[in-house]
Amino acid sequence: MASARSIEVKVGLLILTAVVLLAGFILVMGGISFEPTFTATVGFDNPGGLQSGAPVKIAGVKVGTVDEIRFNPKPQRDGGSGVQALVFADVTIEQRYQDAIHDNATFYITTQGVLGEQFLAIDPGSYDRPIIEDGAVVRGLDPPRLDRLLAESYDLLHTTLTALRENKPELRNLFVGLSKTLQGTGTFFERNQDKLDRVATNVEKISDESLLTVQHAREKYVDNPQIDRIMNDVERISDTSAKQLPGLLKDGRDVMRGTDKLVSAFGDDKQIAKVRGMIDDMAYVTKQTRATVDDARAITAQIKRGRGSVGALVMDEQLFDDLQELARDLKHNPWKFFWKE
């Protein structure tokens, strides 16, 4: 028989084991947290099956719990927060997750798994928005109303069935008509099979040709290297223009400045009158010069035609030859200047 001491040790070990298991279960697995928390209130029109004590999760990670669900008999505004809802859920969230929740965060109710318990999920919102404040009152997204969907589906189904039941003759006629139409269509296709085949062949050819046309157009206008070159040239021109434009603009500005100075120099009325007189004189001189040029042109034309002495001298070859002969003769026989044979 075991001694009293060993019995006490065994009993103590069993009790300790149970206490450790219970404490471990409650502390580690039970999710009891000693983290500091902050509160927020979420308004819903219908929170579905959300219950007090339900978890609050961000991206599947539990960050808090739903403390209380309060019903507003009148959907009045909650303490001037601007949120209007029938039901308000007070939630407690651990402070270490506060930085992740922004003031445009989305609070919505969803379920865990297919038939799981409902919980409050938070979509953290935009990072550039300010962080949610302690005690904030926000509007939540109501969960989908499956009960309403079922009721409306039932109503739709019921209406459809009633309509089918009450319009049996019309439906029969409709189906008979449909059957005849289909039969007629089948006969038509059977009768015109050759024509339809030809039509199909033609359509196929047209589509092939269209394809070829499109391909050619693509080769010519899209894949053509010339287009690339043109584009490159345009790019180069624009590039050069962009580089040269400041200098050109500067030159233009200088020219404009000079013009401005010139204009300002002739700004006096007397000067302008003088300039106008000079221009008139220049116009007269130009007119006279043109007349002189016309005369010279007429004389030249006469000479070219071989008229007159100079024309005969220039244009008559015989006379030219005679003069050449005479010059040669005089050169060899200079005495002929003084003495005639």
């Binding site: 009993v11 206490v19 279960f25 539990k62 865990q112």
Partner: protein, 280 residues
């Protein structure tokens, strides 16, 4: 006090047994009166046990001995039972679930909620009722039929103080410990079963999102209530033993049956109160 007749009445003097509807009514009435009497006696033993817990003799050695008897010697038995219960529950639950939905992600969460709220305490206590309750009733019943209890009374010692109170205290603590141990064993076997049969990740299975403080509180309250009920009911069955060794057998049977019924009855009451207090 009523005078005890010297001789038993003749059979002719007794009222003839009732037949028909009257007989059924008499049977129901008889059982109801017996039930009420048993309830009153149980209440009396419970109150006296509580009284002696505070005002009775101090005998830590006896309490440690009974803790060892009730607790340590039941660990193996309870581990086997709770282990198999965990395996069977998860296997059957998974198979039935797969007939409806190919999603077992919540089987662990629901199993753990059920286990912590009810099964660990109730099934563990039912097992303890069979083992511990039978032992207590047999021990006390044997002492009754061998007139040791009468000797105690003659020595001005209350049998409840001597026999029931140490077992009561031992059972109170040890039922709690054994139920926690049983819950741990069931959780482990359930997790292994889910992993082996359904390829369910243990992290997915050990999901405590459905377990809240109300579940843990209800489970612990049940453990305490069962731990108190089993020795009281079994002690009452033992103290009410009469008729020699056959009486001891009957007392043992009655202790097991009544302890089991007490566990189920308390389960009903505590669950109802829990659902009223924590409707979520």
């Amino acid at each position: 006090m009523a005078a005890v007749p010297d001789t038993l009445p003749d059979e002719d003097d007794l009222e003839p047994p009732q037949t028909g509807m009257l007989g059924v009514a008499a049977l129901i009435g008889d059982q109801a009166i017996a039930l009420l009497r048993t309830g009153r006696e149980l209440y009396g033993i419970f109150v006296r046990t509580l009284y002696f817990c505070f005002r009775g003799r101090r005998e830590p050695g006896a309490i440690a001995f009974y803790m060892h008897e009730v607790g340590n010697k039941s660990v193996f038995f309870l581990s086997v039972v709770m282990g198999f219960i965990g395996m069977i529950m998860v296997y059957q639950g998974g198979v039935q679930n797969l007939r409806i939905l190919p999603d077992l992600s919540l089987i662990g969460a629901t199993y753990l909620e059920l286990l912590i709220r009810d099964l660990a305490a109730s099934i563990g206590a039912l097992m303890l009722a069979t083992r511990v309750g039978a032992g207590i009733a047999a021990e006390i019943g044997s002492m009754v039929v061998t007139e040791q209890v009468d000797a105690l009374r003659m020595s001005a010692a209350d049998p409840v103080d001597y026999l029931v109170k140490p077992r009561f205290l031992a059972s109170l603590v040890m039922t709690l410990c054994l139920c926690v141990w049983g819950a741990a064993v069931s959780t482990i076997t359930g997790t292994l079963t889910a992993y082996v049969y359904f390829d369910l990740n243990p992290h997915t299975f050990l999901n405590l999102t459905l377990v809240d403080a109300a579940d843990v509180g209800t489970g612990l309250a049940k453990c305490v209530a069962y731990g108190a009920a089993i020795p009281v009911v079994s002690g009452h069955a033992g103290l009410a033993t009469h008729g020699g060794s056959e009486g001891v057998g009957r007392a043992t049977t009655r202790a097991v049956v009544n302890s089991s019924l007490a566990v189920l009855f308390l389960n009903l009451i505590i669950s109802a109160v829990s659902y009223l207090l924590f409707p979520g």
